[in-house]
């Protein structure tokens, strides 16, 4: 197994084009697969020295989070945490303190697990990712990356260099909740990310809800505008949200949960995350 440390995005793409190449960022997924001999790469491309891939920057448009920035560093970033509490909460849930020291947003997305904690929060927030390729960079909505467990729309030689988060609207809030059997160290049985904004008079202006671990990929719920936008979110609307969430579920039964359980929890978490996001939007 060869190990290379490209110093630029194009060098990294070049290396990733090789047969049997795997990108290494935080390594929290790749090293487990190596150890269990699930994969045997011919070359490991350590992308952490690519410029901007380890940075967090704020601009007029919003935020840049380098794809290989360790979660622990993001969690420690106060103003980012204020702007996007839900996203930061979500990635603070990925693994232990030790895992946080290495795990990255890019890895969490590209591992393409339906249960990835950061992904529903990113989708709800309307985040995009910047993909570096052999010849050019492209930008893509996060929900368009994963197509099936373990499979992404990234072409050979492409890798994610960073994520863009919009500047949060006035009176907006986001939240992420997941259900795990323990209090830590588990893979989400269901995850729910909500991002919303309210008008001055307390009506919903915009809302996005994304669910994880309830289908082969994360799901962005549709049809919520009709339920919420321009209205105050009453019990009836919340019940409709629960129904939409449950209906979106096409889960598998596995060691982490039954179909019935995942479906039921999707509704519960969507409801609870919505309530937290709403509180935050209203400034509580």
């Amino acid at each position: 197994m060869e190990y290379v440390t490209p110093q630029s995005a194009s060098e990294a793409s070049q290396a990733l084009l090789q047969e049997g190449a795997f990108a290494l960022a935080g390594g929290t997924d790749l090293l487990v697969k190596l150890k269990t001999r699930f994969v045997s790469p011919s070359i490991v491309v350590d992308i952490k020295r690519v410029p901007k891939i380890m940075t967090i920057e704020q601009s007029a448009e919003g935020w840049w989070i380098g794809a290989a920035t360790p979660c622990a560093e993001i969690v420690e970033h106060d103003s980012l945490s204020k702007d996007w509490s839900g996203i930061v909460e979500a990635l603070s849930l990925i693994g232990s303190t030790q895992i946080q020291g290495r795990a990255t947003l890019g890895g969490n997305l590209c591992n393409a697990s339906p249960a990835a904690d950061s992904v529903p929060a990113l989708i709800a927030a309307g985040a995009t990712c910047v993909i570096s390729g052999q010849t050019k960079e492209r930008e893509e909505a996060v929900e368009n990356i994963v197509t099936a467990p373990g499979i992404t729309t990234l072409s050979k030689g492409e890798f994610i260099i960073g994520f863009k988060l919009p500047k949060p609207k006035l009176r907006s809030g986001d939240a992420y909740l997941r259900l795990i059997p323990r209090s830590e160290m588990d893979i989400a049985v269901v995850g729910a990310g909500v991002s919303l904004s309210v008008t001055e008079d307390g009506k919903i202006e915009a809302v996005r809800v994304s669910l994880g671990a309830i289908a082969p990929t994360q799901v962005l719920l549709t049809g919520l505008e009709d339920i919420f936008v321009g209205k105050e979110p009453d019990d009836d609307a919340i019940q409709k949200l629960v129904a939409v969430a449950e209906k979106a579920c096409k889960p598998i039964k596995d060691k982490r949960g039954t179909i019935e359980y995942r479906t039921k929890i999707a509704g519960v978490l969507a409801k609870r995350a919505f309530a937290i996001a709403l509180k935050r939007a209203n400034g509580y």
């Binding site: 259900l179 059997p181 039954t258």
Partner: protein, 757 residues
């Protein structure tokens, strides 16, 4: 001569009962302590194991020829390299074992019986080469249908694991082989008559899943066999002598040919009482002439070591209106794994043991299934059966509108009670732990919404057994202790404390070490909560013998009769005489060479008189009724320790056992797919409690001395894992007003019950 059996129950103690630092503390906090995989030898090879991919299959052929010629491969072993034995139960140390099964469990012969069953092992110059070699071993299997659950395994048309297994304990003896290895029954009185007289009867069925001890250190060993057949084995084990005896039989070596040195051990809880890698490493080393190191991966620990049984339990209890139990009956069906030996006997014996029963019956079945052979796990068998009994008792208390502690007090076993397994009990602390629970502020604290409080008690016998240790008085007045029981949780501290108490010298002058199998007589393993009790007994006796010798030397120097000398606070003192005359231990030790030679003493005995330990736990849980998730809000563990030598380590046993029980109750379980493959082979999905899952575990140590021990010690390690299962289940039932009868109480199972009843 000092009375060796004299007890110190009334004596004022200076050291025993305090909390000094443990002798091995610094090694453990600096990374110096050497565990199973921390040692290496020059010219060492790496050993790896090839394991069965099938739950049940005939081995048609094994071809290792391709692997043998791979560069770097130095030896390969299969079943052909181990002795075979007839099916018979023979003593191995204190264990009764069937070597036919053991040799087949460490290396499959005619059949593989579970996914992960060893079929071959390779030693090579690197891990990579060893792994490659495993891939080159060609094994032809004929796959057979498999069976995983006891209720399926006992069906007449079930796949039979062992064609020669006839159920023992059934009259008339069956003529046809089955998966039911054994039926046992305990009890007395007339349960049918008892139920006929009962005012209230509750009868329930319970299910528990297979769980693993979950020690953090995987099995590991380093074997070196020289050309003259002398074998050195370093391994992580609860009993070096037991390992020696197993390996000598399996490899056809004499006990004198094998020296086993126990490494520091990274947790065992019963799981490190048998052998897995050790005979393989020895065989590979013998064949290659080079040292061989072997380690299990975490996945191998889960698939191929010895978890404990999953089970089906049926319990029926009849009471009078005042809460007095008039009859108790239970049937226990325990998974044995691939070979017989489920802990259903002890499970049946202690099911009703906390109570004074008039009519009682406990029937147990030991049933083989295509899972790894179970090994001991903390109070083996007890948590499962007592979970059923304690749950039914809680339901009865609710129905009678009785306090759950009161109903237990009303029925509590005490000194003189006839145990369900026959004999009369000596002094025990059941009533004392219940009274302590009742008086604890936890028991009367208010509960919040969706919270429930559960109570349960637990009984474990404890054991003694073969033990030997020695003491040496060094020339400078320091003291050495050589102990033969692995120190898993601080026993070196307790031993040094007892020696210090007896000798009257500070504990830091006493250096306890764990000896190898050449340094002492046979020691049964650290298990069954016996180390502090049994090894402590030998330490006290050998120390007293050393004191006698010290007094003798002082008498010689003073030229007086021995009976003129007494031992007080680390000094020989002349009893008679005008002026007080004393001589310190160090002064005597300095002249030992001139007064007869070095001073040492040892004590070897088969220790009896272990006293059962009773415990009662109180737990508050909160149930998220929308998700089914159960949180432990508050926990108090109360237990009779007889006498706590080092209370901090007694508390540690209680806290650790309670949290293992919490794991068993809430989330731990072996999950198999329909091919018989274990799906959760790592700590990610085999969910032992993490730090943020649990609150502080409050402890109350009750001390009802064991009259058979000089300090009143009872074993404490096993009991604390028993009450949590029922206590938590009872708490969840009380929080939700729905009776739960299945473990684990994981969120999906709890929610399903809340939704569908």
């Amino acid at each position: 001569m000092n009375d060796m059996t004299q007890n110190n129950l009334e004596r004022a103690l200076k050291i025993v009962g305090t909390r000094p630092p443990r002798p091995d503390g610094v090694d453990k906090v600096t990374g110096r302590a050497l565990f199973g995989s921390d040692k290496s030898l020059p010219n060492m090879l790496v050993g790896r194991v090839l394991r069965s991919p099938y739950a049940h299959a005939k081995i048609i052929s094994i071809d290792t020829s391709k692997a043998e010629v791979l560069n770097g491969v130095k030896s390969i072993v299969t079943c052909a390299d181990f002795e075979d034995f007839p099916s018979e139960f023979v003593p191995n140390g204190e264990m009764i074992v069937n070597l036919k099964d053991i040799t087949r469990n460490i290396m499959a012969r005619e059949k593989v019986l579970y996914v992960g069953h060893t079929v071959a092992a390779v030693a090579a110059t690197s891990e990579d080469i060893a792994e490659k070699a495993l891939g080159l071993i060609d094994i032809k299997y004929e796959v057979l249908p498999h069976v995983l659950e006891v209720e399926d395994a006992e069906k007449p048309d079930a796949p039979v694991l062992h064609e020669d297994m006839m159920t023992i304990g059934i009259e008339p003896s069956p003529k046809k082989a089955s998966n039911v290895a054994k039926r046992v029954e305990f009890g007395f009185g007339d349960v049918e008559k008892g139920f006929a007289e009962a005012d209230l009867i509750v009868e329930r069925e319970f299910t528990t899943q297979q769980v693993h001890q979950g020690y953090i250190e995987p099995h590991a060993c380093l074997a070196s066999v020289s050309e003259d057949g002398q074998a050195d084995l370093w391994c992580t084990t609860q009993g070096a002598f037991v390992v020696r005896n197993f390996c000598s039989k399996l490899l056809g070596l004499s006990a004198a040919q094998i020296k086993v040195t126990a490494s520091e051990i990274g947790g065992g809880f019963g799981g490190k009482t048998v052998v897995y890698l050790e005979p393989l490493a020895l065989a590979l080393s013998r064949k290659s002439g080079r040292p061989v190191k072997m380690e299990m991966s975490r996945a191998e620990v889960f698939t191929s070591s010895g978890p404990t049984s999953g089970a089906k339990v049926w319990v029926k209890i009849g009471v009078k209106n005042d809460g007095r139990i008039i009859a108790g009956d239970c049937v226990l069906k325990y998974q044995a794994g691939a070979f017989q030996g489920a802990p259903v006997g002890p499970g049946a014996m202690c099911a009703f043991a906390p109570y004074d029963m008039v009519n009682v019956r406990a029937v147990g079945y030991d049933i083989v299934v295509n899972r790894p052979k179970v090994s001991a796990y903390r109070a083996p068998g007890g948590p499962i059966s007592e979970y059923g009994v304690e749950s039914v008792l809680d339901e009865i208390a609710l129905k009678l509108e009785m306090d759950p502690i009161e109903i237990r007090l009303k029925n509590a076993a005490k000194e003189g009670t006839i145990a369900p397994y026959g004999p009369k009990l000596g002094p025990i602390g059941m009533i004392e732990t219940l009274e302590a629970a009742k008086a604890h502020p936890h028991y009367s604290a208010p509960l919040g919404p969706n919270q429930g409080r559960g109570i349960a008690s637990g009984f474990w016998f404890n054991i003694g057994g073969e033990t030997s240790s020695s003491i040496t008085i060094n020339e400078d007045g320091t003291v050495g202790l050589t102990l033969g029981t692995t120190d898993i949780g601080g026993s070196r501290a307790s031993m040094a404390m007892m020696a210090s108490e007896e000798l009257g010298v500070p504990m830091d002058l006493i250096k306890p070490v764990i000896g190898d199998t050449n340094s002492l007589g046979f020691n049964f393993l650290t298990g069954g909560s016996r180390a502090t009790f049994s090894t402590g007994m030998t330490v006290v006796r050998s120390t007293r013998e050393a004191i006698e010798e010290l007094k003798k030397r002082a008498a010689l120097l003073w030229e007086v009769d021995l009976n003129q000398v007494e031992w007080v606070d680390g000094h020989a003192r002349l009893i008679a005489g005008d002026e007080p005359k004393t001589m310190s231990l160090a002064q005597i030790a300095k002249q030992a060479g001139k007064t007869g030679g070095p001073i040492m003493a040892n004590c070897s005995m088969n220790v009896t008189g272990a006293g059962p330990s009773l415990g009662t736990h109180i737990v508050d849980v909160e149930v998220d009724t929308e998700t089914g998730k159960v949180s432990i809000v508050r926990y108090t563990a109360i237990q009779d320790a007889g006498k706590a030598i080092h209370p901090a380590y007694v508390e540690g046993q209680m806290q650790g056992g309670a949290v293992q029980g919490i794991g068993w109750a809430l989330n731990e379980e072996y999950i198999y797919n329909d091919k018989g493959e274990l799906e959760n082979t790592g700590f990610l999905d085999y969910r032992i409690p993490v730090c943020s899952d649990v609150p502080m575990i409050d402890t109350v140590i009750v001390e009802v001395p064991n009259p058979n021990h000089p300090y009143g010690v009872r074993g404490v390690g096993e009991t604390p894992i028993i009450p949590p299962l029922a206590a938590i289940s009872n708490a969840v039932s009380r929080a939700t007003n729905i009776r739960f009868n299945e473990l684990p109480l994981s969120p999906p199972k709890v929610l399903a019950k809340l939704m569908h009843g």
